[in-house]
């Protein structure tokens, strides 16, 4: 029906910019020729190839700490992809996506401490609980728009963190859940004993789930979401149940976040309410901004860049991770208007200030 106009194609471009700083070797050969860069296949393909090479050679080149950081970045990356679905595609920038992430992480932690250590089972259960959580909270959240949605998701996130801290019998309270045993990926396979094993498990899981998400977003489903972001009123008048689309997107994003939470629990072998904190939600929003709002691959790269900045680059300056991250936020807002623009609600060109509101306008 009503297809999104220019936004779908223009937003994929920033995906290449973080990649060129992150993994430079193959990208450097192409960067000299602007005509080559203009091709969509090169813009997507070169960073993807660079990322794939980096991820495949990492276990043999990095030490244990580097590998576990990479695993963490992948888990956070899945969360960032879920934010990209919501903020980029559905036009619902969320400040509480760490909540379903936390639910998924606790699901894995509780299953693990009760002796259910099959990775696939944990992933399935975490995905389902994340989806269930989002389905329930989404009933109220998707009825709000704009800043109200931002604030509602923030409140829901804080409520979840509070609940996680208070429900001591299940979650271990604010001390967190520790002593979570290592998992077996599938029944009959060996237990993941080293950082390297965990990394491969996390990598394969991430590739599978991101591929699924990417495939779904490339289908007409993604187009419908983009349309409901850009032309909500028009889509509604064409008979589409936009609120239901957004609820489904919210639930699916919750499932993705829950999946990421299980991975994070597998990497850390520890879950605490801090995993669901507001700053985690804001960090993945930054990852999505860095990566270009409608690019799952960009969101993954953005998450990698954030973890690298916070935990690896800040190594020589202990305790100053927040400073570097803060500077990154500031630079990103000014230097990547395209990345940010993919998320913001569209306003007609030339309106300097607030437009008079009409009923049905998205904020």
């Amino acid at each position: 029906m009503s297809t999104p106009t220019s936004s779908a194609t223009s937003n994929t471009s920033p995906a290449s910019s973080p990649a060129s700083t992150d993994a430079a070797t193959p990208a450097a050969t192409a960067s000299g020729i602007p005509a080559v860069l203009a091709s969509r296949r090169v813009r997507i393909g070169v960073p993807s190839a660079a990322l794939a090479v980096l991820l495949l050679i990492a276990p043999s080149t990095f030490d244990g700490y580097g590998i576990s950081l990479l695993s963490k970045a992948l888990a956070l990356g899945v969360l960032a992809v879920s934010v990209s679905v919501l903020a980029g595609f559905a036009g619902l920038p969320t400040m509480g996506q760490a909540a379903p992430f936390l639910v998924g992480a606790y699901t894995a932690g509780v299953l693990g401490t009760h002796g259910h250590t099959i990775g696939a089972v944990q992933l399935l259960c975490g995905t389902l609980t994340g989806a269930g959580f989002a389905a329930a909270t989404g009933l109220v959240a998707v009825r709000t728009r704009g800043v109200a949605f931002l604030m509602t998701t923030l409140a829901l996130g804080e409520l979840t963190v509070t609940a996680a801290g208070e429900w001591r019998s299940l979650t271990g309270g604010t001390d967190g859940l520790y002593g979570i045993p290592p998992i077996q990926p599938l029944p009959g396979l060996a237990t993941l004993s080293s950082d390297r094993d965990v990394y491969w498990f996390v990598l394969i899981s991430t590739v599978v789930i991101v591929a699924i998400a990417w495939r779904v977003l490339r289908s007409p489903v993604g187009k419908l979401l983009l349309a409901s972001r850009d032309h909500e009123a028009r889509l509604r008048s064409a008979g589409h149940p936009v609120t239901r689309y957004q609820w489904i997107a919210y639930t699916a994003a919750g499932a993705l976040a829950g999946f990421g939470g299980v991975l994070m629990c597998t990497v850390n072998a520890y879950v605490s309410p801090d995993d669901g904190s507001f700053s985690n939600s804001a960090l993945v929003l930054l990852a999505v901004v860095l990566g270009g709002a409608t690019s799952p691959l960009g969101a993954l790269l953005g998450a990698g860049l954030i973890v690298a900045t916070r935990d690896w680059l800040a190594g020589p300056f202990p305790g100053h991770g927040p400073l570097l991250l803060g500077l990154m936020f500031i630079v990103a807002v000014y230097a990547l208007p395209e990345g940010v623009a993919g998320i913001r609600f569209r306003t007609p060109a030339g309106t300097r200030f607030r437009m008079p509101k009409r009923r049905g306008d998205p904020a």
Binding site: P93, M95, V140, R143, T144, R145, G146, V147, A148, L150, M151, T152, L154, A155, L156, E158, L159, T162, A163, G165, E166, F278, A282, L285, L286, V289, G319, H320, P322, L323, L325, G326, L327, M328, F329, I330, A332, V333, Y334, P337, V340, A341, I343, R344, F345, T347, T351, R352, F353, R354, K357, R358, R359, D361, A363
Partner: protein, 299 residues
């Protein structure tokens, strides 16, 4: 009478805490409701005020007052940084501004913890108000009583400025129709800068005044920010009177509520916030002219 006695001190604490939140949240609600800036760095400005006041005051009245002045000036300067940072983003909606202020909050928090360390800073207050006094048969810290008086005066003064002066009228006009205020000859950037400065000053002053109640510590910024968000949402963004009642309610929930049921009070705050947002949205979509009822969807 017995139950009233039990809850007297928590209730009075709730008033003090609520008034503190009001002074802190008033700046945030002005900036958000009128300026359209969702200022995540507000808690950092509060902490800045607290640290500055704690550094300057050494127990005498003159340094205590100087501390308040320094805290207010520090907050105003922080607000100026905010104004300079957010002005170029005015056309790009809420999210870039929120991300920018989050970045500023991270940088500011890092600088504060580098200078002042990770431990809470005790504040030396003048000895004449550092003791306790008897009120209706209860022992209560003198400083908090004084704080209640001072904050009430501030609240009244703020209401007067906003409701009865020309500057206040200008700000209220800017909330309703910024284009028209611009057409009247007031440069939008000046209104924006004044708003940011006033919001920063209020945050800094709240930090300085509140330092003996919630000591300047790394986690104070987050706590004040989150509670201020609850306050401005409950009291409708942009409404100072609404923020006042919401702040007192939040203060009472945080003190009396926790005394009554420590299990459920924590949920009450953010639960109420979510309910208020959703309730207003439903009401806003129910009546045709009520699009403005979508909480805080200004600008």
């Amino acid at each position: 009478m017995g139950t009233l006695d039990t809850y007297f001190v928590p209730a009075l604490d709730g008033v003090a805490w609520g008034l503190l939140l009001f002074v802190a949240a008033a700046g945030l609600t002005l900036l958000f409701g009128i300026g359209g800036v969702l200022n995540i760095a507000h808690g950092t400005l509060f902490a800045l005020g607290g640290y500055l006041a704690a550094t300057v005051s050494d127990g005498s009245w003159s340094t205590a007052i100087l501390g308040m002045v320094v805290a207010t000036v520090g907050g105003t300067l922080g607000g100026a940084v905010l104004a300079a940072g957010t002005l170029p983003l005015a056309e790009r909606g809420h999210l870039p501004q929120a991300l920018l202020t989050f970045g500023l909050a991270l940088v500011g928090g890092d600088i504060l913890s580098t200078i002042y360390g990770g431990d809470p800073h005790p504040v030396v207050i003048p000895s004449s108000v550092s003791g306790t006094m008897h009120i209706f048969g209860h022992v209560y810290p003198t400083y908090r009583l004084m704080f209640i008086v001072v904050a009430s005066v501030l609240a009244l003064a703020g209401t007067y400025v906003l409701g009865r002066t020309r500057a206040g009228a200008l700000l209220r006009a800017a909330a309703d129709d910024r284009d028209m205020v611009g057409a009247m000859g007031y440069a939008p950037w000046r209104v924006h800068a004044a708003l940011c400065g006033a919001a920063g000053a209020l945050a800094g002053l709240a930090g300085g005044l509140g330092a003996p109640i919630i000591g300047p510590a790394p986690d104070a910024a987050d706590k004040v920010l989150m509670l201020s968000m609850v306050v401005i949402v409950l009291g409708r963004p942009g409404s100072v009177a609404g923020a006042f009642f919401a702040a007192i309610a939040v203060g009472e929930i945080e003190t009396v509520g926790v005394t009554i049921s420590s299990n459920w009070a924590p949920y009450l705050l953010f639960g109420l916030m979510a309910l208020a947002l959703v309730g207003r949205t439903f009401r806003g979509s129910a009546d045709s002219a009520g699009a403005a009822g979508v909480a805080g969807a200004h600008a």
